[in-house]
Amino acid sequence: MAEDKPIDELSGTATTGHEWDGIRELNTPLPRWWVWVFYATILWAIGYWILMPSWPGITGYYHGLLGYSSRAAVEKAVIDARQAMAGMQDKIAKTPLAVIEKTPDLEEFALGAGRSAFAVNCSPCHGADATGRKGFPNLVAGNWLWGGKLDDIQFTITHGVRNGIDADARDVEMPRFLADGILTQDKIGDVADFVLSLSGSAHDAAAATRGKQIFADNCAACHGDQGQGNTQFGAPRLNGKLWLYGGDRETIVQTISYARKGVMPNWGARLDPATIKALALYVHSLGGGQ
């Protein structure tokens, strides 16, 4: 049959024998370079089957002579990256924060490490931009509950706040003035108006005047005469525009009556010291650091 293939007179090329309305289809051979490349890809595929994981089985798969696994490759890459960073991590663990801050290459590394550690561990509560939200402090405004120096921040991250696990945790609690029967509802209302007056917010002047003495007796010890706050006790500043739980009268009454007990994990139990240092430097660099 094959030798009977008709030849096209014009081009001298064999035709496929197909003919439509007198038009015959040439059977032009494939270019040789193309055919050889095609054969080469077949050889490559066979080699690939043998060397690489290729055939699925019922309970497992054929691992290939090279035993390649993308999961193992990732694990190795992670280990390599850890090793590559180990030197800098060590240095950061050993160097005091104040020195790191003055050493450009250490600081750059620490800020980078801090940024990624913050995104993973801290941003769920404090926000990706560290501006916090209701109940979770803003870390960029310089309005610190427990102090904004590098060492303060490092301590707070390491031991956490009121977590009941770490003995060194920041653990001062505000009394529940109504629930514990310290003040009556009316007096709490008067104090709330006085607190509002501290920051220049709208308030009932008569109530505020009545509340002044109550504040001095019950609140000023921690929050200060002017409501300036005290980082020793984690007592928030009351004469500013920033409110952790809300600055309206109703919320302030609620806060005085039942107190607030924000908690934070003791990260020292979960993160290594170098990462905590990096976090402290990063948080300190966000604009609020003291």
């Binding site: 931009d129 960029v140 405004a141 310089g142 500043r237 500013g240 920033l242 604009g287």
Partner: protein, 484 residues
């Protein structure tokens, strides 16, 4: 003078390998064996070859003192430091438009030259032409001229043939390696890199670059030659659009040469000046017959002019049967009209004006470019921060650049924002200290009372001032606050 006759002229019984009308896109390459030729254009090409090759091989070794801390190589493309040095000019990555401008000038210059004098780039200065010529010199020195080479090609393998072939290829590969080797010196300090290359300490990319360029030089110059111009290069196709009737091209004056022939067969037959000796065909590196008219393959190397003029001189006939001429003048000569050279045509004027404008513009901007620059990036998150005292704070990343070779202290201030205070992270003052030839990044906080803001986005400017020279650089940006 002893006049020679047509019988004394060596004649070649050949057809051009790539003769017009007989070319086929699907045929195999036929090897071209260009014959050696002497004459004005060959001499010109030798000179151009010497000059261009010297520039290429020697440039990276030129030194140019720039003071301590800066490379002393006259021409250096410093990728790690992202700088380009050219004698007294230093270009930063954000000034890459100078390079773009130079490339546009090169293109417009090429258009201008092409519209006046045809493909002189292709014929004289293109690296493909120059290196092919160089490879031909080697080939001729080892294997002999055209006839010897053809004979050697057809000869059966022998010790002598093997010896010649090995010598030729070794010489070619050495030239190719020198070519690739010279290239990498443009990207690193040449003497250091040369030492490292010799001690096998150079970076892998240097060896691979040399390897690739050695390979391409060897293949393009030794084997592909005219095919690069005909099939790979887009320029011959583009240049067709630059040429017109008044552009100088290598022309065969058919009106004078035809009918061509050696011997007058009949008394009535009047022969032209062309003796059909095919000297123009055997010297052509592109394998064409110039007498077939203008062809895409012709790189206007003008060697056929030299070949033909040699023959015409021997015969005592007027030279330039093949010569540089415009197609318009070829027609006018044939018709006996006065010649006309009009190099000032709308397109040449346009190209010249464009070229000059670009050049002057670039020189002006180069001469007056700032040696201080600032760029400001506003924090995206948070856009603004409300502080306890009720004021607002915006964070910025400020990058300041010092293109002088001395350390500078530049003060940063804010303009257009009432009551604004500026602070730089890690500093107590607002002075940016930038080392010589450096770029530094600073975290800057700007604080403004909320009451003074008239909108959620107030335009203001950072101003960088050099106390010494009193130069200032402004950067306009926005102060963001809550919606009003």
């Amino acid at each position: 003078m002893n006049m020679m006759t047509t019988h004394d002229v060596a004649s070649f019984d050949v057809r051009a390998v790539n003769k017009r009308g007989e070319r086929s896109l699907y045929k195999k390459r036929e090897k071209i064996h260009p014959k050696r030729v002497q004459g004005f254009f060959r001499r010109l090409k030798w000179i151009v070859m010497a000059v261009t090759l010297t520039i290429y091989y020697v440039t990276p070794w030129l030194r140019w003192g720039r003071g301590p801390g800066a490379p002393d190589q006259a021409v250096l493309i410093d990728f790690p430091a992202r700088k380009f040095y050219f004698f007294f000019i230093e270009i930063w990555p954000q000034e890459v438009y100078y390079i773009t401008g130079l490339l546009i000038m090169a293109a417009v210059g090429l258009f201008l030259v092409t519209s006046i004098a045809g493909r002189v780039w292709c014929g004289y200065t293109c690296p493909q032409t120059v290196w092919t010529d160089l490879f031909l010199v080697v080939e001729r020195a080892v294997e002999g001229d055209r006839n010897a080479r053809i004979k050697l090609d057809h000869a059966p393998w022998s010790f002598d043939k093997l010896r010649k072939r090995v010598m030729k290829h070794v010489a070619w590969i050495l030239i190719a390696m020198a070519t690739g080797g010279a290239w990498v010196f443009y990207f690193a300090d040449a003497p250091t890199l040369a030492r490292n290359l010799a001690h096998l300490h150079a970076p892998g990319v240097a060896y691979s670059t040399i390897g690739i360029l050695t390979f391409t030089t060897y293949v393009f110059g030794g084997f592909m030659r005219e095919q690069v111009c005909t099939y790979m290069c887009p320029w011959p196709r583009i240049q067709g659009a630059m040429l017109d009737e008044e552009s100088l091209v290598v022309t065969y004056h058919g009106w004078r040469g035809e009918p061509r022939g050696r011997h007058q067969k009949e008394a009535t037959e009047k022969l032209g000046d062309c003796v059909d000796c095919n000297a123009c065909v055997v010297v052509c590196p592109m394998g064409i017959d110039i007498r077939d008219g203008q062809q895409l393959e012709c790189i206007t190397c003008a060697l056929c002019i030299d070949a033909c003029n040699g023959v015409m001189t021997k015969l005592g006939r007027a030279p330039d049967l093949i010569g540089y001429d415009t197609l318009g003048n070829d027609r006018r000569r044939a018709a006996g009209e006065p010649l006309k050279y009009s190099f000032l045509r709308p397109r040449t004027i346009l190209y010249t004006v464009l070229w000059c404008l670009l050049g002057v513009g670039m020189l002006y901007s180069l001469a007056t470019r700032a040696d201080t620059d600032i760029s400001v990036l506003h924090d995206r998150s948070p856009l603004f921060v409300l502080l306890s005292d009720g004021s607002l704070r915006n964070g910025f990343t400020v990058k300041a650049m010092n293109k002088q070779r001395v350390e500078r202290h530049l003060s940063l201030t804010v303009e257009g924002l009432p009551g604004a205070e500026l602070s730089i992270v890690g500093q107590t003052d607002a002075v940016l200290v930038i080392g010589p030839d450096d770029l530094r990044s600073f975290r800057v906080y700007v604080r403004a009372p909320r009451a003074d803001l008239t909108s959620d986005s107030v335009p203001f400017a950072f101003i960088l001032t050099d106390a010494g020279s009193k130069t200032t650089v402004h950067y306009q940006t926005m102060f963001r606050g809550p919606a009003q």
